[in-house]
């Protein structure tokens, strides 16, 4: 299938497609930077390709090579369910490339991030500001020649502290003063919601201009939890990045672990043993349940329904007892390993799961009784936060948010990985795409996750849980204690890391909020040359401004909650 895509592209642009290549099943094409917009338009409009969803835009800094920067676009087609990696190179002294925002509106934030991190300018971009870092930041941190230890003017000793952050500040936004039909037409009032606000369970700043109580325009600013995930991963061994992936989505950490380990395994071209794959599915679905419980509960809380929140947390506590028994950590699980899992299921785990999950679902029943038919909850949720499905796709929105709008895109079903093709589950879809649908989809998914866990526990095969390749997975402890070869393996593995062959892969998996994807570039050493996490919270938060425009200020809260932005995942 990937060959057909590349053939089609080469036929249409024989002179502009410089190279095509398929590595480990990933199709990628390099094109001339100045023609990127035409190629993008073709990819989106061609009926056989229909790459309508921008998954990711990032860059790779090949320092010492000419041209130095490679900009990488990952695309997905929601009609044909295929992927393409589009690449283009730009030199250091003229690091500009046409913006693809006219084709995919969702490329907006992704290109801002690439500008922020690599200093690549996108011509024709509507609003090329830094997105994570502040305007005074000097340099672009993901460039290879940016030292990790470098201190910045606003932090560290000798900083210019106390710089006032008011409306005169360079990163105070300039929102267009549009008048909307049917509004008061009064003087606009600017409201700053966040970065720390009780009604936003994530650190995000929303600058909204109000006409009366109606939001005329809003600017969503993220980055308050940015901590350089990618830089940190590039400076450590492959295995050392696993605990960091926990901290992406800390309410469903195991799913983030799984995606990363699948990506490294894809670099190696291996698959984990069957028992391990089942365990990963069980652990992942448990994490998904914890995430959905938190999302639904926190939404209720922020709409002033405190009891359902307590029920949700109690249910999540029962779920977390399972995670705790599995890997010893509740929030930061660090469970999945490259080629295996850190430890097999503990004794009696199946019984514990069969006892706790029904209890958690009983709490869910009570929550539903309190929420679903409640007039206040319904009034706040129904008909709020809607966007047409095509627009959501162009924003790169995925997960429950997109399924609530009726788009059948669940990667567990569309591109099955692990053992999701062997289990029986439903993909719940909404019809209108409002907040109520999003809530209903999440509730339905909770029950489906419980179904998947039960099936996997029944189907769980015996056998090894870890790959036995000493070049990938650390050797077993009893052999390390007893034998010289394994001891040497252990020393080599810890001090050099596993070394995948050079190449680049992308793996997208379905996390609780949507597609979490890892783009890894290996140069054959023990450290990833590039480790990029494409996170659902980032792409799902982007259309927030569009969703709440023209709505009341009070509608912002449930919409933001149902997006379920996780700060750690959005800001990385």
């Amino acid at each position: 299938m990937s060959d057909a895509i590349l053939d089609r592209l080469q036929q249409r642009f024989p002179d502009d497609v410089l190279a095509v290549d398929t590595y480990r099943g990933d199709a990628s094409a390099s094109v001339r930077a100045e023609r990127i917009l035409d190629v993008a338009r073709f990819l989106k409009d061609d009926p056989g390709l229909r790459f309508d969803m921008p998954i990711d835009v990032t860059a790779v800094d090949y320092i010492g090579q000419q041209p130095r920067f490679e900009i990488v676009y990952h695309l997905y087609s929601t009609t044909h369910h295929h992927r393409l990696r589009l690449k283009t190179r730009v030199p250091q002294d003229n690091a500009t490339v046409p913006s693809v925002t006219p084709v995919w509106v969702g490329a907006n934030w992704l290109e801002r991030e690439t500008w922020d991190m690599y200093g690549i300018r996108f011509t024709g971009h509507p609003d090329l500001r830094r997105i994570y870092l502040y305007e005074e930041f000097e340099g672009h941190p993901l460039r290879k020649d940016y030292p990790k230890e470098k201190r910045q003017p606003l932090i560290g000793p000798g900083s210019r502290r106390g710089a006032s952050v008011g409306d005169e500040h360079p990163y105070a936004v300039d929102l267009p003063q549009t008048k909307v039909e049917g509004m008061l037409g009064s003087e606009l009032m600017r409201v700053q919601l966040g970065p720390s606000h009780p009604a936003t369970h994530g650190t995000v700043r929303i600058v909204a201009d109000l006409d009366g109580e109606t939001i005329v325009n809003a600017d969503v600013q993220v980055g308050y939890l940015h901590r350089g995930f990618e830089k940190e991963c590039e400076s450590g061994f492959y295995y050392q990045a696993i605990p960091y992936t926990d901290r992406l989505n800390y309410s469903s950490a195991i799913l983030c672990n799984t995606g990363y380990c699948l990506a490294v395994e894809k670099l190696f071209g291996i698959e984990a043993p069957p028992r391990c794959q089942f365990i990963r599915v069980i652990a992942g679905e448990i994490a998904r349940m914890a995430d959905h419980f938190l999302c639904v509960g926190a939404t209720a809380l922020e709409l002033n329904a405190f009891t359902p929140f307590l029920y949700a947390l109690q249910a999540r506590e029962l779920i977390w007892d399972l995670v705790d028994a599995l890997c010893g950590g509740r929030v930061t699980s660090n469970y999945i390993r490259i080629g295996g899992v850190s430890a097999d299921l503990p004794a009696g785990f199946a019984d514990l799961a069969r006892a706790n999950i029904p209890k958690a679902l009983a709490q869910l029943d009570d929550m539903e009784r309190l929420l679903t038919e409640n007039p206040i909850f319904r009034a706040r949720m129904e008909g709020v936060g809607m966007l047409p499905a095509s627009e959501l796709i162009a924003y790169g929105v995925c997960g429950p948010l997109l399924r609530a709008a009726g788009v059948d895109l669940d990667l567990r079903r569309a591109q099955p990985y692990l053992v999701y093709d062997q289990v029986d589950f439903d993909v719940p879809l909404g019809s209108r795409g409002d907040n109520l649908d999003r809530y209903l989809v999440r509730v339905a998914e909770l029950r489906q996750s419980a179904r998947i866990i039960e099936q996997c526990l029944r189907m769980l095969p015996d056998g090894p849980v870890d790959s036995d390749d000493p070049a990938i997975r650390w050797p077993g402890k009893s052999r390390v204690f007893g034998r010289m070869e394994e001891l040497i393996d252990q020393f080599k593995q810890v001090t050099e890391g596993c070394k995948p062959p050079p190449g680049e892969v992308y793996v997208g998996t379905e996390s609780a909020n949507g597609e979490i994807g890892y783009f890894l570039v290996s140069d054959g050493t023990g450290k990833p040359y590039k480790c990029r996490a494409r996170t659902p919270s980032f792409s799902n938060t982007q259309p927030l401004a569009a969703m709440i425009k023209g709505r009341l200020l009070a509608d912002l809260v449930p919409t933001f909650d149902m997006i379920n932005m996780i700060g750690g995942e959005c800001d990385r």
């Binding site: 450590g236 050392q240 990045a241 696993i242 605990p243 960091y244 926990d246 009891t307 109690q314 705790d324 028994a325 890997c327 010893g328 950590g329 930061t332 660090n334 295996g340 850190s342 430890a343 097999d344 503990p346 009570d366 309190l370 038919e373 409640n374 007039p375 319904r378 129904e382 059948d408 567990r412 079903r413 093709d421 289990v423 029986d424 589950f425 439903d426 993909v427 719940p428 879809l429 909404g430 019809s431 209108r432 109520l436 649908d437 209903l440 339905a444 090894p464 849980v465 997975r473 650390w474 050797p475 077993g476 402890k477 009893s478 204690f481 001891l487 252990q490 020393f491 810890v494 001090t495």
Partner: protein, 180 residues
């Protein structure tokens, strides 16, 4: 593939009027009062059904797999099992471990003269324990490590030593989990 798509059932439209609003309140009260009476009944029978744990008077028992702060295993002769090979230092993603090795005349001739863990950096990932070829550093069940100063979060070798008898649960888990 046995997956299928289903549409979520949207509840019927909300009906307005004071009678329906009162009904909604009663529905909510039914759920919450059921919880209330169940908890009350549990309290009367002295079998509490309340989920909350009154920490620190009550404490939960952690599972064997629990990862608390990393500690050093102290052998029966009072010495550490660590041979200062430095693998945990390598494996640690946050560089929170500092080791200076030294030598003695004992049977195990290498030992750490300095073994510090900066607990303000440690993120409890357990990679040090997985890397250790001697079962010398293990994740304990201790999580009460608050300190009044930054200096207090730096743990030295003498503070980190825990007798092997107190770590049996974790060692059992490791021997089961990390063996392949």
């Amino acid at each position: 593939m046995a997956t299928r798509t289903v549409s979520v059932r949207r509840p019927p439209p909300v009906r307005h009027g004071w009678l329906h609003s009162a009904g909604a309140i009663l529905v909510g009260l039914r759920v919450t009062s059921r919880h209330f009476f169940r908890n009350l009944w549990g309290f009367i029978r002295r079998k509490p059904t309340v989920f909350t744990v009154q920490y620190p008077e009550q404490r939960l028992e952690f599972p064997n797999a629990f990862r608390g702060m990393p500690v050093l295993v102290q052998m029966d002769n009072g010495k550490e099992r660590c041979v200062a090979c430095g693998l945990c230092e390598w494996a640690c993603p946050t560089d929170c471990i500092t080791i200076f090795p030294a030598e003695t005349e004992d049977e195990i001739e290498r030992y750490p003269a300095v073994f510090d863990i900066n607990m303000s950096r440690c993120m409890y990932c357990g990679l040090c324990e997985e890397a250790c070829p001697e079962e010398a550093i293990v994740m304990s069940q201790n999580v009460e490590i608050a300190a009044f100063s930054r200096r207090g979060t730096l743990w030295h070798k003498q503070d980190l030593l825990v007798p092997v008898s107190k770590l049996e649960k974790r060692l059992q888990h490791m021997r089961r989990g990390y063996d392949r």
